[in-house]
């Protein structure tokens, strides 16, 4: 009870720059929905188990059923059939979402590069080969973006919580993450892989432009 009140308080009151539950793009929105589904399902199962546990201390059934009967009910029914059903459904749901979030070929795709180092981010743009920005990634709003992520030293992770999940920056590998911002604005990003003394401050900003300012940006005018 107090938990849910607190939840409401926290949901409404605070800053949301890195919040998974305040999505600002399609990928993050899908995952936020997934979270609420998971929460409701988990809460229901938890309550079920707790009720069964409480009743075990309260109810004394006089007609002692046999061990076989108990086994059928508890182990085959609740222990085997119930989780298999729930988990199969959940797995399918998760895989469909995961497949949907993969960086598949789509029209109007914008490609950028993100190169991490201790403790800075450098971004490059496929549309402007010789141009790069430090600590700020510019993208067009409302368009799918592929971020090609890599690292030059230790392992880092590219994470803009309000836009999408995270993906690691690994030396020698290039990982591609699909992000998209619904609206123009600024979104906070951080590295989410521990990287030593400067880890906490290893952050960056994503600036999503409207169509007009994006064309200005790629034309090489003011970023």
């Amino acid at each position: 009870m107090s938990f849910s009140i607190l939840t409401l308080l926290l949901l409404s009151g605070c800053t949301q720059n890195l919040s998974i539950v305040h999505p600002a793009g399609p990928a993050a929105a899908t995952i936020a929905t997934l979270w609420w589904v998971l929460l409701v399902g988990a809460a229901a199962i938890f309550v079920l188990v707790m009720v069964l546990l409480l009743l075990a201390f309260r109810v004394r059934n006089a007609n002692d059923s046999s061990d076989q009967e108990h086994e059928r009910r508890w182990i085959v029914g609740l222990g085997l059939a119930f989780p298999v059903t729930v988990l199969t459904a959940l797995l399918a749901y998760g895989l469909v979402i995961g497949e949907h979030l993969m960086p598949r070929a789509v029209p109007e795709l914008v490609t950028v590069g993100a190169e991490a180092r201790q403790w800075a981010w450098r971004f490059t743009y496929a549309d402007m080969p010789s141009f790069e920005t430090d600590g700020v990634l510019h993208i067009p709003a409302g368009k799918p973006i592929d971020v090609q992520i890599t690292s030059v030293d230790v392992i880092h992770s590219f994470w803009v919580p309000r836009l999408a999940g995270k993906l690691d920056a690994i030396p020698g590998h290039v990982n591609v993450l699909r992000i998209e911002a619904d609206l123009p604005g600024e979104y906070d990003g951080v590295s989410a892989e521990f990287s030593g003394a400067g880890y906490r401050m290893h952050d960056f900003t994503v600036v999503a432009h409207d169509a007009e300012s994006w064309s200005a940006f790629i034309a090489g005018e003011t970023p």
Binding site: L6, L10, C14, N17
Partner: protein, 827 residues
């Protein structure tokens, strides 16, 4: 002989040395079990203090309490201590102390190995403790990802303490696992077939087999990373053909089974205690055993769920996601079997039961959040956030610490012989339970609000302040609860309030002995005809004390127990245990010298310690065996059994089989690493492949044929009462050929720092040299044993053990040589 005189005679035979000497020379499982448990608890409180420092730091934004450098050491050591120096050793202690008592035996299979394992744990742990106190503790996280943990990210000595200290401690885990496996399979009461085994023994058996197959990948990873750090062999450096992802695979190949290695013993404790508390028997014993086995097997197929965000193709992720969700099924079976057990019984809310109820409320949440993070897209968001911190504490504290506290209060009367007089325990439970949920429930939410794990502080206005403050306040309430448990235990153990012999009216064998237990456990060994032996005959304890069981008559001051057939539990030999000795402690000390030499880069110390280890090992095995045939002995009730030294498969043979299982897993992981780098690492192929020479290929084939044939002919010769000298000579020549092939593997690549392939070839060559050297040493030992009359047609156990090791050396030599030269031959 009456019960009291028998007790005195057995105590004289079985007692550890008096006074302080006893600590260092004891090989008694009760003593060593207590030492394991005590040291593990000490580390729990050290780890707990570190946790309190973390919560103090995170209580307020921009806390000036400590800087990132100190904070990184503290959270790294908190995880490391709790995992390696608390949880695993606590299981080992529990198993070492209780298994023989539960199984109706007088000790474990290899008492000196128990002691050696304990001292490795004690010495290895103190290396890490020293690093912590000296302020040079590991600081790249308990998961030690390179390049951060390699020379690039951490040029200092900090990670070396982790790699070397933890590997040292793992020697202890492997020893304990071999010991526990053989003990459960062979050292049981007469008539205790597998289906009559106490449920905890099943869990301990599965856990031990998991340690044997789960720890080798980490030992290999640590070895490779230390070789990279110390000698520049580039296993994890991408420019030189390595790949940092290799570490992650090896680490989580260990790391996920590790979680179940921690959970399964706790589940075993619950399956043991809960039916007693509910005055009934466990519902679905067979189902629970199968579920535990399934959990053990599945846990090896889900390591990649720690790597969902590393860019692995979605199809692979789908497989591992499915496996990770599937794990919830056997867990569900166990949870509902327990609930069903309570339903069919008449539960009483004694203190152990209170902790089990606390376990249910906590672990179920941890399991459910576990299913959540097995869903790949959700994990992409919450991975490395406080959500995971909360999840893992629900699983590990709820799923391990709470059941262990149930075990503590359940078995405390057994260990002390006392009744609980002061009732602080209930208060302590509520403080810990409320404190725990207050600390970690809201931490899920702050993770969803974007708080990452492992950040040393955060800014005001981030929206995380309130939750962090709540977490910190409740964490101190939890800490007070744990201290109260400690006080409760100490006070109750100190107050002389003698308790009844079987206070919970349990049906298992450990209560069929005087409490606190005597050094010999059972004055005579029981014959078991049902799963709950004590429930079946309530005067069992008295009858055993009167000597009505097996081996009731002390013989020649020998420490004796029975071994049984694995499946049926039919007795098949009498074991005579070694006496008190400081040898295990000294050998662990010298082993420590080897690890220390690597740590402080005093490499001259390594071969020196190696020679010391060999000397101690030879002394260790030389004391076993007899020079004459003793024949069948009276085990009581007219049962005549041979000594274990006069059977074909002595305990040492089984110990070698399971040690080789761990060893083969290690070698398999090395081959996996090689294949992984070849196919995944970007900078392959290497500058040059190793080129095979025909003499070298000839040497390995000759050696692989001569070694195994020679040892077989030697055994055959002894069986026919002939001389094994010639055949052992052939074995030697075979081993020498294998050494040559190992050397030529090593020499084929002059510079192991050039490319990861070259470095891998060196490790393969080193592995061959180590095992063929060992095979030569063992053959030499057999030559000496044959000369001094230890080998006879009826005493071939030792030779058959050596045969195992020679066969293994031949196999791995062939495989290693093929793996080294195949690419060169094919391209």
């Amino acid at each position: 002989m009456n019960a009291l005189r028998r007790h005195r005679a057995l105590t004289r035979i079985w007692a550890s040395d008096p006074g302080w000497r006893g600590w260092f020379t004891t090989v008694n499982h009760s003593d060593l079990g207590r030492m394991f448990l005590l040291l593990a608890v000490v580390y729990f409180f050290i780890g707990g203090i570190l946790a309190m420092l973390i919560r103090a730091q995170l209580a307020s934004p921009r806390s000036p309490f400590m800087g990132a450098d100190v904070y990184n050491q503290i959270f790294t050591m908190h995880g490391t201590i709790m995992m390696f120096l608390f949880a695993i050793p606590l299981f080992e202690g529990l198993a070492v102390y209780f298994l023989p008592k539960l199984l109706g035996a007088r000790d474990l299979a290899f008492p000196r190995l128990t002691a050696f394992g304990f001292w490795c744990y004690a010495f290895g742990g103190s290396m890490l403790l020293f690093a912590l106190v000296a302020g040079i503790a590991p600081d790249s996280g308990w998961f030690m990802y390179p390049p951060l943990s390699s020379t690039l990210g951490s040029p200092g000595i900090n990670p070396d303490f982790w790699l070397i200290g933890i590997t040292f401690v793992e020697v202890s885990a492997i020893c304990a696992a071999v010991e526990i496996t053989v003990s459960i399979l062979r050292y049981r009461a007469a008539g205790m077939s597998l289906s009559r085994m106490p449920i905890f023994a099943w869990y301990a058996l599965i856990t031990s087999l998991m340690i044997l197959t789960g720890f080798p990948p980490l030992i290999l990873g640590s070895l490779l990373l230390e070789l990279e750090r110390a000698f520049g062999m580039p296993f994890f450096q991408v420019e030189l053909g390595g790949d940092s992802l290799l570490w992650q695979h090896l680490f989580w190949l260990f790391g996920h089974p590790e979680v179940y290695i921690i959970f399964l013993p706790a589940a075993g404790v619950i399956s043991t205690i809960l039916p007693v508390m509910a005055r009934t028997t466990l519902l679905g014993y067979g189902w629970v055993v199968v579920a535990a086995i399934a959990l053990g097997v599945l846990s090896f197929g889900i390591w990649v769920h720690h790597m969902f965000a590393t860019g692995i193709p979605h199809l692979s992720l789908a497989f591992f996601s499915a496996a990770s969700t599937l794990v919830a099924v056997p867990t569900g079976i166990q949870v509902f079997a327990w609930l069903g057990t309570i339903w069919k019984g008449r539960p009483h809310m004694h203190l152990p039961m209170l902790w089990i109820v606390g376990f249910f409320a906590t672990f179920v949440i941890g399991g459910l959040t576990g299913v959540m993070v097995a869903v790949v897209p959700f994990d992409w968001q919450v991975h490395d956030t406080a959500f995971i911190t909360a999840h893992l504490h629900y699983v590990l504290v709820g799923g391990f610490v709470f059941p262990m506290l149930a075990a503590l209060y359940y078995w405390m009367p057994h260990m002390t012989g006392r009744r609980r007089f002061f009732k602080l325990g209930e208060t302590a439970f509520w403080l810990v339970f409320v404190g725990f949920h207050g600390t970690f429930l809201l931490m899920h939410w702050v993770g969803l609000l974007g708080q990452r794990r492992r950040i040393d502080t955060y800014d005001a206005g981030s929206g995380w302040e309130v939750i962090n403050l709540i977490s910190s306040v409740f964490s101190f309430i939890m800490a007070i609860g744990f201290v109260l448990v400690l006080i409760d235990v100490v006070v109750n153990a100190a107050v002389k309030s003698r308790g009844p012999r079987n206070p919970w009216r349990a049906g298992s064998l450990e209560w069929a002995m005087p409490i606190p237990p005597p050094a010999y456990n059972f004055a005579s060994l029981p014959l078991v005809t049902s799963r709950d032996a004590l429930a079946a005959s309530s005067d069992l304890a008295v009858r055993l004390a009167k000597g009505e069981g097996y081996l009731g008559a002390p013989r020649q001051n020998q420490r004796e127990t029975l071994t049984v057939d694995i499946a049926t539990g039919t007795p098949n030999s009498i074991v005579v245990y070694p006496r008190n000795t400081a040898l295990p402690m000294l050998m662990a000390f010298v082993t420590g010298g080897m690890f220390l030499g690597m740590l402080i880069k005093a490499y001259w110390l390594v071969p020196l310690a190696g020679v010391g280890i060999i000397a101690f090992a030879l002394r260790w095995v030389w004391t076993l065996g007899h020079r004459s045939d003793l024949g069948p002995q009276d085990a009581g009730h007219g049962l005549m059994l041979p000594y274990a030294t006069e059977v074909e498969d002595p305990p040492g043979w089984w110990g070698s089989v399971f040690l080789l299982l761990a060893n083969a897993t290690f070698f398999g992981c090395l081959l996996f690493g090689y294949a992984f780098l070849w196919t995944v690492a970007p900078n392959w192929p290497p500058p040059a492949w190793a080129i095979a020479s025909w003499p070298m290929l000839g040497a390995v084939v000759t050696g692989a044929i001569l070694g195994p044939i020679g040892i077989r002919r030697a055994i055959g010769a002894v069986r026919r009462e002939g001389s094994p000298a010639l055949a052992l000579g052939i074995t030697m020549i075979g081993c020498a050929c294998l050494i040559l092939s190992g050397l030529s593997v090593l020499m084929s690549m002059p510079d192991p720092t050039r490319h990861a392939y070259d470095a891998t070839v060196w490790v393969l060559g080193g592995y061959v040299l180590f095992h063929t050297g060992l095979a030569i040493l063992m053959t030499g030992f057999l030559v000496a044993r044959a000369k001094t009359g230890f080998m006879a047609p009826g005493r071939l156990g030792e030779a058959r053990i050596v045969q195992l090791w020679i066969d293994y050396a031949a196999c791995i030599s062939l495989v290693a040589v093929s793996a080294t030269f195949a690419p060169g031959l094919l391209s």
